[in-house]
């Protein structure tokens, strides 16, 4: 009702210029309103919080086997298995704990940029330059050719940049270089919902960790991170954006960090932020205090993907150096 009370050029068929003016003044007003809520800095409030005790995070496992850059990985719900995909077209399922390679699939395309493990642990999804996302059921029979049972689920008009199962094996959420995200029914391959809101390639997506909500966030080349059903925000580097305050509440940066972060994930309590960078390192940030706790060396090329395991006991990193590492 309040919105209607604001005078608007919407109804009267005004020119593009007038509309742009209205949009700009609304943006300005929104900024002013939000600035009023910015009464304090997060790291100031967090001064009274106890320091995180000294961490001794080290590489605990190195997974070797890919022939080229590892572009993506995902954990299985069982907290120890993971799936990874590479530029060489291979998708490998590993038991991270024993280093066993349990399955391997050769995709018909190179640059497999996205992969995901199904919640049941019985299938994986992957895709990339083929513009598709396919689901492979994982067979217990080692001799069975996984490619034979492959199911093409998602079809985009440009590369697949991200995929994720929603709470079940039956729905797949994808993001693409064609600027859209989409939700698919795995069994029938039908498109359930399409999300148009980015004006350029969508590079990544992440589901909200909630049983009850159906929200996800996507990030794109248009420098926007869209939270679907909610607000698009401008975000380029490592920043914490709070949806309740509708603003950025922390930036994680340092003079000595010149290269960009490619992937981030929170520890279980949300106190730590693990960020993988294009300078081959992983930085561990104190989310509340804003300082960097430690820097982890080990990879020999860009870190492409970082994900914390389902029970928070470790996190995995995938790299252009063709390996994956598990840290704890």
């Amino acid at each position: 009702a309040a919105a209607q009370s604001r005078p608007s050029a919407l109804q009267s068929g005004e020119s593009l210029a007038t509309l742009k003016n209205e949009s700009d003044s609304l943006k300005k007003k929104l900024e002013e309103e939000r600035a009023k809520l910015h009464d304090v800095e997060l790291n100031q409030v967090a001064e009274k919080v106890e320091l995180v005790s000294a961490l001794s995070i080290r590489t605990r496992r190195v997974l070797k086997g890919h022939g080229n850059k590892v572009l993506c990985m995902d954990w299985c719900k069982d907290k120890r298995r993971l799936v990874s995909s590479s530029q060489d077209g291979k998708v490998i399922v590993w038991d991270g704990y024993t280093l066993n390679k349990e399955h391997a699939v050769t995709m018909p395309c190179t640059w497999v940029m996205a992969c995901a493990y199904a919640p049941s642990g019985c299938a994986v999804a992957c895709g990339g330059l083929d513009n598709k996302c396919s689901v492979y059921p994982l067979s217990l029979d080692k001799n069975e050719n996984l490619a034979a049972k492959k199911k093409s689920v998602a079809m985009h008009t440009n590369y697949l940049s991200g995929c994720s199962f929603t709470n079940s094996d039956m729905q797949l959420l994808t993001s693409s270089g064609d600027g859209t995200c989409a939700l698919w029914d795995v069994e029938s391959g039908q498109l359930l919902q399409s999300f148009h809101g980015h004006t350029a390639d969508v590079l990544s997506l992440n589901l909200a960790p909630s049983e009850t909500g159906n929200t996800f966030v996507s990030g794109g080349c248009d420098k926007k991170a869209n939270v679907w059903d909610m607000l698009p925000c401008a975000s380029v580097s490592c920043r914490l954006y709070d949806l309740r305050a509708d603003r950025e509440v922390a930036v994680y940066q340092k003079d000595s960090i010149i290269f960009g972060a490619s992937s981030v994930d929170f520890s279980l309590s949300g106190r730590l932020l693990f960020a993988g960078y294009n300078d081959y390192t992983i930085n561990v940030w104190d989310v509340l205090k804003g300082n960097r706790i430690s820097v982890l060396f080990g990879h020999e090329n860009r870190v492409s993907c970082v994900k914390v395991s389902p029970d928070g006991t470790s996190f995995a990193s995938a790299s252009w150096d063709t390996s994956l590492r598990i840290w704890a």
């Binding site: 509309l19 009464d39 000595s256 949300g270 300078d279 020999e300 006991t313």
Partner: protein
């Protein structure tokens, strides 16, 4: 060397409009590199070093660079400074004068800075004909320092085979380059030769070294200015390769906003202005509260018991989680919120068990059924939705739930064309109801309290006496702190 290498000094050649991720990085590195070289402004001393019978112009030691980085970029640990310096070298901004491998060492090893002409920000993508000319030229000059390394000799051999038909042309170009080089001053030539070599060390790296020119294919596809790409150091361009590679065909450029786009934007902004938002102080408190509450569950912040399997190679921690007997710490978590209780399958089962014992489980069963509905394949959705309606909402339903008339109407309408979200309204309503009613009772129940306090049940909970005893115990234990005892041997054995 191509003409005008210094005239075309490309400092600040980056289009200020170009804020593609690579350019942002290059700008930052170039800022650092220019500062290091600015002796008047606290930069390192670049000097000529005497060596045997000759002089080495324009060099600085690795140690000096590391020290500068630590001081000026506030780096506490030299390992970090060495790593950063090595990356700056790997991208071609500085190089060791006696090595093809581009890393920084924290010792007396001598380094030189790259000419801005060769900076990566100039969008160099030198072709193989160029590389062939370069290697060919090297073999023509009779200098020890220009001798080809093994991998370079192999590369040259391969290129000779590949360009067999145009080798005469390449040879001539190489000769021309040698002539141009001879005209230059001796000291200047040393510097230029090394810079040229460093350029090729970036674009044709030593086998085993990272090729920093490799690009993320998603960024390749978005190349906005394929014309800005420089393909030849020597002013030679291969006709066959003049077609832009498929990697450079621009994908959708960002569209210009249309009238419709702006209209949508206005509507959206109005919605945002009407949104109720929280102050940062409140949000900060909430974040701090959350992290504090979950701190003991975060293996990166608190020690796990039993040990973290990844560290100790002992998987007992996982075995325990998988067993149907939850630890007190795990049970405590169910008390944080109903979402936490429902997230844990054991918590969910216990909650259900409690409600069943009270004969009031229909709300939770409805909620669970709707969650499950959303996970079904599309073709099963309509029929399953009908089943849920029949079981919980229809007249005379066996597990009738209580909805307000508004939600009931809405749901009833939705069921005319049943879908995955037909029950969203109803589910939200029931969730709120459970939160304030059933969940609160669950936390006070014997079932929950027994698990939380690791008690063994002495009397069946559903007798009058059992309830009274439990109530007494509860009242007594209210005074105790509920921080949850650590796992004891007792729990482990069950």
């Amino acid at each position: 060397m191509a003409e005008g290498s210094k005239d075309q000094a490309c400092v600040g050649a980056i289009d200020p409009e170009d804020d593609s991720p690579n350019m942002i990085i290059y700008r930052k590195i170039e800022d650092v590199v220019m500062r290091i070289q600015d002796e008047k402004a606290g930069g390192v001393t670049i000097r000529t070093v005497k060596s045997f019978l000759s002089k080495i112009p324009s060099v600085v030691s690795g140690a000096d660079i590391v020290q500068w980085l630590m001081k000026n970029l506030t780096i506490e640990d030299s390992a970090e400074a060495i790593h950063l310096g090595s990356l700056i070298a790997a991208h071609g901004y500085l190089f060791p004068i006696s090595d093809h491998v581009l890393t920084l060492k924290d010792d007396g090893t001598l380094y030189r800075f790259q000419s801005p002409y060769f900076w990566p920000s100039n969008c160099w993508e030198p072709e193989n004909t160029d590389y062939a000319i370069y290697l060919c030229k090297r073999t023509m000059q009779n200098k020890a320092r220009l001798e080809l390394a093994d991998y370079e000799a192999e590369n040259l051999a391969r290129l000779q085979r590949a360009f067999a038909r145009k080798w005469e042309f390449i040879f001539m170009q190489a000769e021309a380059q040698v002539k141009i080089d001879r005209k230059k001053d001796k000291a200047e030539r040393k510097i230029l030769d090394s810079q040229e070599r460093a350029f090729w060390d970036v674009h044709r790296p030593v086998p085993g070294c990272v090729n920093t020119t490799e690009m993320d294919i998603r960024k390749c596809r978005r190349e906005r200015n394929p014309h800005r790409v420089k393909k030849s150091v020597y002013g030679v361009s291969d006709e066959n390769q003049s077609q832009p590679s498929p990697a450079h065909i621009p994908s959708q450029p960002t569209r210009k906003p249309t009238k419709e786009d702006v209209q949508k934007e206005i509507t959206f902004l109005n919605i945002q202005l009407d949104r109720h938002c929280l102050k940062v102080s409140k949000v900060a408190d909430s974040l701090m509260g959350y992290t504090e509450q979950f701190q003991e569950y975060d293996p990166f912040v608190s020690l796990t018991e039993p040990s973290n399997p990844w560290i100790s190679d002992d998987s007992s921690f996982w075995d325990l989680e998988a067993s149907k007997d939850p630890s007190q710490q795990r049970v405590k978590r169910w008390g944080f919120s109903m979402e936490e209780a429902l997230k844990d399958p054991v918590g969910r089962d216990q909650f259900l068990k409690f409600l069943e014992s009270e004969f009031s489980s229909e709300n939770l069963r409805f909620w669970l059924a709707v969650q499950e509905l959303k996970r079904r394949p599309l073709q099963e959705v309509a029929s399953r939705a009908q089943e849920i309606w029949q079981e919980f909402l229809a007249e005379g339903a066996p597990s009738s739930i209580n909805l307000d008339s508004h939600s009931y109407e809405r749901t009833s309408q939705n069921l005319k064309d049943p879908g995955r979200y037909s029950f969203e309204d109803a589910q939200e309503h029931i969730f709120k109801l459970m939160k304030s009613d059933s969940y609160a009772r669950f936390l006070r129940s014997n079932i929950y309290q027994d698990l939380l306090l690791a008690r063994k049940k002495q009397q069946p909970a559903d007798t009058e006496q059992g309830r009274r005893t439990s109530l007494e115990k509860f009242t007594r234990s209210v005074g105790k702190s509920l921080t949850g005892k650590r796992l004891t041997g007792l729990m482990q054995s069950s």
